[in-house]
Amino acid sequence: MGYTKYGEFMRVLRVKEHEVMGDTAKMLGVKIPFVSAVESGKRNVPEEWVPMIVEHYKLDQEKEAELLDAIESSKTQMKLNLVHASNTQRRLAVQFQRSFERLDEDTAEAIMKLLNKEDQ
């Protein structure tokens, strides 16, 4: 239970600007339950919302970066583009998808370390 990082970001912003969730829904042109579902992590934040939020609340660069970080942390689903992937990469993606929910913290940390090493 609780708000996602994005939901918390928007909640704090609204309190500061004396707005409510209904105002957010009007500004974004969507229904209030949809805004609520996004803020509680049941739906992903639509990409087109970012410029609308930045403009409406006149966010500076620092705040915009904070918003993007909050959105990234709040993602409920991610897509992998496999168009140019090799067969091995495809097998890895499928295997990762199958095993994701069973991954324990230690294994996840070990995989992240390995992938970070690849990036360096």
Binding site: M1, G22, P33
Partner: protein
Amino acid sequence: MDYETKPTNRYELRLYAALFRSICGFSQDEPIDPVALLDRLPELEGFEDVRYEVVYNDALPGNVPAQCEKSDDGYLIQIKESVYKGAYERKTGGHRMHIIHEIMHPFVDKLGFKPIFSRRLTKETPVYRRLEWIVMALAGEVMMPYESTEGKTAEEIMRIYGVSERAAKKRLTY
């Protein structure tokens, strides 16, 4: 769901209402906007674990305008879209009262009004021992402070505090 709980009375409820206003930083006589209060809840002392959601109308049973569920993580208030919109767009007194009612649930729970599961609610159970009545009465006390509504007409109470005619008239009877 209604339960039997520890007893209370109007005098105590007025003290709790004053305490709630004080926690929220409201004066003892200003009108309260329950919709705006929803977003402020996690910043209020004692309400850090209270969250809310606005849900599609078919997500809750037809006769349930809003509800508050307690779990190990805290309290989740769920409000039907029609109720939220009524309170937000039209400022309807009844819808505003539904929302403050749900906000009172975690407050009352934290005040120690826990369900007494060993006792079944019967027709003989007095209202002042019924959880739902206590929450409803406290919501009324919070929205329409006793001291500042004394001597006012129902119309004045409705206009100043944004409550329904029914709630304002009820205020005048006790």
